[in-house]
């Protein structure tokens, strides 16, 4: 740097600061841009999502008072049929994307998804058991929530098994976790097939439908419960970016740079598993969101988890709302299962991002 006679050193220093700021795409700025963009996308999705569907609705009529569903079909479609579903997509998509990004760091594997550790298989097996063998007392107590409750219990059992298998002296070795998860997936998968094989026609159809992911069960009661249950995990994970940055590089790296690794790993795994279990309980094992959204955001804004985690939470929600809107309209009046749509839309979109990036110089 040449300091000319007319410039004071402090002016030169400011100039250097500006240059440095321009040259480096600082994580703080990435956070500002990407998280604002994803927040805007999530809000837009929540507002516009309910307007989209097989029946056109009159937005003016929706707000006409008094709110009387029978007399005002527009309001009924908006508030009863669509809004809860859109909000559920927002919560589930965000939770799955956040959980996926967390697992990618903790398992040090870019291919990790919320379902890698067998959590969703446990949830599915339990949900199928509840479908096949409804315990009258439980059904009486839980009503429509019997299957979701069973599913959540199944995911917790799966998490306990996988962490118990891998846990040794408080550590959770990545390879053992991954292999335990894969074995668990296969084991549960076998029982799931067995249940399907012995199920009658109706039950089989319900099971297949469940596997494809389903936002139909949305209700304000479910949304409230889901939000209350998931919020602590959102906050916990979205704030653990620095630890996950280091843990993604390795346990020893993280320990050397000040992370209390045992606690951070356990909290991260439990938080991500809890969000996965809740999401699967509420909407079935919707695939793809948990891997595609974090990776798309990595391509846009780098791999700093302090940016990636909050962006995934917001972007995942917006993405699933978009998929759901497509699922409701593409073949209207037929509604496609959401899980089919996420893969149909997500796959090509991600490939396009990937190809667009090829040959471009790195972030910065």
């Amino acid at each position: 740097m040449v300091i000319t006679g007319t410039r004071t050193p402090s002016a030169a220093r400011n100039g250097a600061s500006r240059r440095l700021r321009r040259r480096l795409w600082l994580p703080r700025r990435r956070f500002r841009y990407l998280v604002s963009a994803m927040a805007a996308a999530a809000v837009a999705a929540a507002l516009l999502g309910p307007l989209i569907g097989s029946t056109a609705i009159d937005l003016g009529a929706v707000w006409r008072r008094p709110f009387d569903w029978a007399a005002n079909p527009d309001a009924a479609i908006f508030f009863v049929a669509r809004l809860p579903r859109v909000l559920l997509a927002l919560l589930v998509g965000g939770s799955l994307a956040l959980a996926g990004a967390t697992f990618q760091s903790l398992l040090r594997n870019p291919l990790a998804t919320p379902y890698t550790l067998g959590i969703s298989s446990g949830a599915t097996l339990a949900a199928f058991l509840a479908l096949r063998i409804p315990i009258p007392a439980a059904v009486g107590l839980l009503g429509e929530l019997t299957v979701p409750a069973a599913s959540l219990a199944g995911s917790l059992v799966a998490t306990a098994i996988v962490m118990g298998l891998a846990g040794r002296r408080g550590e959770l070795p990545t390879t053992v976790l991954l292999l335990a998860g894969v074995s668990l997936n296969f084991t549960f998968g076998a029982f799931i097939l067995l249940l399907q094989y012995f199920a009658d026609f109706t039950d089989t159809a319900r099971m297949v439908r469940w596997l494809m992911g389903d936002l139909e069960g949305a209700s304000y009661r479910l949304l409230a419960m889901l939000t209350v249950a998931a919020a602590p995990a959102w906050v916990l994970l979205a704030r653990s970016g620095r630890a996950l940055n280091l843990l993604a590089l390795g346990r020893r790296e993280a320990a050397a740079l000040g992370v209390a690794t045992d606690r951070a790993e356990r909290n991260g795994l439990l938080g991500a598993a809890w969000l996965t279990g809740l999401s699967v309980a509420a909407a079935g094992p919707v695939g793809f969101v948990g891997i595609i959204v974090p990776h798309a955001l990595r391509l846009l804004g780098g791999s700093d988890y302090r940016v990636l985690l909050p962006a995934s939470l917001l972007g995942g929600g917006a993405f699933l709302v978009l998929c759901d809107a497509a699922a409701r309209t593409l073949l209207a009046p037929v509604e496609l299962p959401i899980g089919v749509l996420t893969a149909c839309l997500g796959g090509p979109f991600f490939l396009a991002l990937l190809l667009g990036r090829r040959g471009r110089p790195g972030i910065g």
């Binding site: 994580p27 703080r28 870019p110 020893r252 050397a256 791999s303 910065g364």
Partner: protein, 247 residues
């Protein structure tokens, strides 16, 4: 006499078989201790224990009077800069992001780094001759360049104790020489350095004390000129190549 800046005493470590037995290491500010030994002798394990990354089965490590077993991870990280043996892979990060991690222990738990921190990142990279790497992708630079970046990360927070695992590995000879003077500067600045190395020349030039390890136990310790004799080296490395006349 006050306790040295870094002191490890009676360290024992092992999973099933013992990897380290009754090891003592000490280095005061401005001193360099070099760990020598054959592959598998326990140098890297010892550095991990000193960094607090692994916990000893018995014995203790104290830095600046703090027993590592009693301090939390964040405090420990402020005391120690650690250059691991292997560079991380598939990070997806830019070089400046990797170096910044070295400052995490100094930053408040929440909030973003300021421009002052980024200036320190640039300065640390410049110090290891890696200024031009600043904006490159860490995963796409060469192995030697990655070592420089990792070294910048270890020194960026200017910790009182530096633990370097093979600081010269994969470096070109020109930079290896430059790095020796950088390390000498750090020592002159009051840092304590413990390094594991296979480079005997580096140990002779830089170390105030060398610790010769064989199968997890200390063979000999002392000033390089006193202990790095052909006979001790032959015994340490299990060879006769240094010319002691015995196998």
């Amino acid at each position: 006499m006050p306790a040295p800046l870094l002191e490890a005493d009676q360290l024992e470590f092992g999973y099933d078989a013992p990897l380290l037995r009754d090891v003592h290491v000490a280095a005061d500010g401005g001193e360099c201790c070099a760990l020598l030994g054959a592959n598998g002798a326990g140098k890297t394990t010892l550095l991990r224990l000193l960094a607090g990354v692994e916990k000893p089965n018995s014995g203790h490590v104290a830095i600046d009077g703090d027993n590592l077993a009693d301090v939390d991870a964040a405090h420990r990280a402020r005391l120690v800069g650690y250059l691991p043996q292997a560079s991380p892979r598939a990070t997806g990060l830019a070089v400046y992001e990797v170096v910044l991690m070295g400052l995490y222990p100094l930053m408040p738990a929440r909030g973003w780094e300021s421009l002052a921190e980024w200036r320190r990142v640039v300065a640390a990279l410049r110090r290891v001759g890696g200024r031009q790497l600043l904006r490159r992708e860490f995963d796409r630079i060469s192995g030697g360049e990655q070592r420089r970046v990792m070294l910048a990360r270890a020194i960026v927070a200017e910790p009182p104790v530096l633990l370097l695992d093979e600081p010269l590995a994969s470096l070109d000879p020109g930079f290896a020489l430059e790095l020796q003077s950088t390390l000498a500067e750090l020592l002159a600045g009051g840092a304590a350095i413990v390094m594991a190395t296979h480079n005997l020349e580096l140990a002779r030039r830089l170390a105030d004390e060398v610790v010769l390890l064989r199968a997890g136990a200390v063979v000999e310790r002392g000033a390089p000129a006193d202990v790095m004799s052909p006979a001790t080296l032959d015994f340490t490395y299990g060879t006769s190549a240094f010319g002691s006349g015995r196998a």
